[in-house]
């Protein structure tokens, strides 16, 4: 019984880390309709800035996170303005080509500037070391990641479902021309949501760095994971992404506990089954 609890906790923690890292992609893919393979690249940029701010400039963890999120958004503005704007509404394969190109560039530049070694983001003492839960101990930073996941999910849901901006965003996505004629400045709405998505990517990159360490190849290494999680959840659906992360986290963790040798089979067969049963994602809207 204790083992079940213990594995369950691991599953929850892993699922939430996945959620924090990939939710930004759900926003770009579901709401802005861009197959953004450069999502990992933005997460990586966030990680690098945070690492640099903490190690070289001596800032604390919280400040490093803020700096990194702000810095990544700043970097993304020209990219959004000059590159992404060209592919809104373009065929998906063109988007794939463009965003893979961006990813290659970012990897190359990161390798050149920061070198190929692993970069860490030093945790504050509070988040370091294990915490005793009674039936087992768990890393404090994992609890932090779970908390971050809950906060991000709540905030996003509130932003999209309950605010005026959310209404405008959903309107622009459903019918940009109509929204525009009703006085919604769709360009601004798109620019803001793109910034939110990039900021979430950077935030996720930092919070998840203990599990997925920052190095130049980060941008490609985890791309598949992000893509799978978002699609299984149903692109654009916040509860869907959350559910998908928890389900996939649970499957992956139990698989690795019970049959580590066949972990990969376990995971991808589950993905195939879920996708066949829910072709629009767990909670995705039918198009």
């Amino acid at each position: 019984m204790q083992t079940v609890f213990s594995v369950g906790t691991d599953a929850l923690a892993y699922g939430m880390v996945l959620f924090v890292i990939s939710i930004g992609l759900s926003v770009t893919m579901g709401l802005m309709r861009v197959v953004n393979l450069a999502h990992g690249a933005f997460a990586m940029i966030g990680g690098y800035i945070a690492s640099y701010a903490a190690h070289m400039l001596g800032f604390g963890y919280a400040v490093a996170i803020l700096l990194a999120v702000a810095g990544t958004i700043l970097i993304s503005i020209p990219i959004e303005r000059f590159l992404f704007r060209r592919i809104y509404g373009a065929p998906e394969l063109t988007q794939v080509l463009m965003t893979i190109g961006i990813t290659f560039c970012v990897i190359g530049i990161a390798n050149y500037v920061f070198g190929p070694t692993l970069k860490t983001i030093p945790l504050p003492d509070m988040l370091r070391g294990p915490v005793d839960l009674g039936y087992r101990s768990i890393a404090a930073h994992k609890l932090f990641a779970i908390a971050c996941g809950v906060v991000v999910a709540g905030a996003l849901w509130f932003l999209i479902d309950r605010t005026a901006f959310g209404v405008k965003l959903r309107a622009s996505v459903d019918n940009a021309a109509m929204a525009g004629s009703l006085g919604v400045r769709t360009r601004i709405v798109y620019a803001v949501s793109s910034a939110v998505a990039v900021g979430l990517a950077a935030f996720g990159g930092i919070v998840g760095a203990e599990l997925l360490p920052i190095e130049p190849y980060y941008a490609l290494r985890y791309m598949v994971t992000f893509l799978v999680v978002v699609s299984v959840g149903g692109a654009g659906s916040i509860p869907g992404a959350l559910l998908a992360c928890l389900v996939l986290g649970a499957i992956d963790t139990t698989g690795r506990y019970l049959v580590p040798e066949y972990g990969e089979f376990f995971f991808y067969l589950a993905v195939i089954t879920i996708v066949c049963l829910f072709p629009n994602g767990l909670l995705g809207r039918k198009r």
């Binding site: 893919m29 197959v35 590159l83 060209r86 592919i87 373009a90 065929p91 998906e92 394969l93 063109t94 794939v96 080509l97 463009m98 893979i100 190109g101 961006i102 990813t103 290659f104 560039c105 970012v106 990897i107 190359g108 530049i109 390798n111 050149y112 598949v224 893509l227 799978v228 699609s231 299984v232 692109a235 990969e264 089979f265 991808y268 067969l269 993905v271 195939i272 996708v275 066949c276 072709p279 629009n280 994602g281 198009r287």
Partner: protein
């Protein structure tokens, strides 16, 4: 997916009476290019052979992506299945005649295509993309696990194909492999030209434009697509077999997500929905990659990335597609 991007010069060709002429012209261009490659770069034949094998993979991808509208990031599963089928036949069963190996590769690829297609066709759009990723990872893991047959991560070595017709051996300089590959490519290309112009090819294109209407006409959408998937698998399998024969080793990378993604990049680079686009994309991407990575083996990835971005910005329909559009515009002006 990608419906809007497609250009279909082939359909224009059918409307004119001179399609045969155009095909012959295309064939001539390929042969001339192949000849130039042979004469100008006699020391680069290994690379040229590799390009030929990958070109077969990209052509096969074009069949499902460009002609049927199925986006996949897992097409290397079919390529690798062909490579391993041919490789295992040679290494474990002593079937070392290169032509038979190619046939076995095609059969292996077609079988993989049947399996992958049956799964892939259960989803649409994004879901389909994820299914393709899952499939290629499952294939990859299976090959890794079955290391007794496939050599696992060490690669399947010990493939030594006989000379072609007992006359032309595969050697260090790779001349036989190159000519062998070009012949295969030309044969496959001709067959595919016939295929995409046939009623069956037209039906596939119709499905891509509007599957509902096609099924209303009484044609079975899924059965047609599955058939195309099997054909595509056979083509990819031929490419895989060529790779196995020319390099005499098969690695897990031939079944990898990376190879699949690269193939898709090459196809979109050249332009989907036309066989020429696939060929041009492969040639340009691989040549460019080899060129920049030999100049700077450490930081070439940035330049390749820049090339991809530039293509999207300046040639949004792919290199071939945009060139055709330009030509069209000039002609219209006249």
């Amino acid at each position: 997916m990608a419906a809007e991007q497609t250009i279909s010069p082939a359909s224009k060709a059918t409307s004119g009476p001179n399609w045969l002429l155009r095909d012959l012209a295309g064939l001539a261009v390929i042969l001339v290019l192949a000849g130039i490659g042979y004469l100008l770069f006699p020391n680069n034949l290994a690379l040229l052979t590799r390009i030929t094998a990958i070109a077969l993979l990209v052509l096969s991808l074009d069949l499902v992506t460009g002609y049927c509208g199925i986006a996949t990031l897992g097409h290397a599963a079919l390529f690798g299945a062909g490579a391993y089928a041919a490789g295992i036949a040679a290494a474990h069963f002593g079937i070392t005649d290169p032509i038979i190996m190619v046939v076995i590769g095609a059969i292996g690829g077609a079988a993989a295509g049947l399996l992958a297609g049956a799964i892939m066709l259960r989803g649409h759009g994004l879901a389909q993309l994820v299914l393709s990723i899952a499939i290629v990872y499952l294939f990859h893991e299976t090959a890794n696990k079955a290391s007794g047959w496939t050599g696992g991560s060490d690669g399947l070595a010990g493939i030594s194909p006989d000379p072609v017709f007992g006359l032309f051996g595969f050697d260090l300089w790779g001349r036989t492999a190159y000519v062998f590959g070009i012949v295969l490519l030309v044969l496959v290309f001709l067959l595919l030209r016939v295929l995409v112009r046939s009623p069956f090819g037209m039906l596939c294109r119709g499905i891509k434009e509007d599957p509902v209407r096609v099924s209303a006409m009484g044609a079975s959408v899924n059965a047609t697509l599955l058939r195309m998937y099997v054909i595509s698998g056979a083509v990819a399998g031929v490419g895989g077999a060529l790779n196995a024969i020319s390099t005499q080793v098969v690695g897990l990378d031939s079944l990898s997500f990376t190879t699949s993604a690269e193939a898709l990049v090459m196809l979109v680079l050249g332009g989907t929905g036309s066989l020429y686009g696939g060929l041009i994309g492969t040639l340009v991407f691989m040549w460019f990659e080899d060129f920049v990575s030999s100049i700077n083996p450490f930081h070439w990835l940035t330049i390749v990335g820049a090339l991809l971005i530039a293509v999207v910005l300046f040639a949004p329909s792919g290199l071939y597609g945009t060139a055709v559009q330009l030509l069209q515009r000039i002609r219209d002006k006249r």
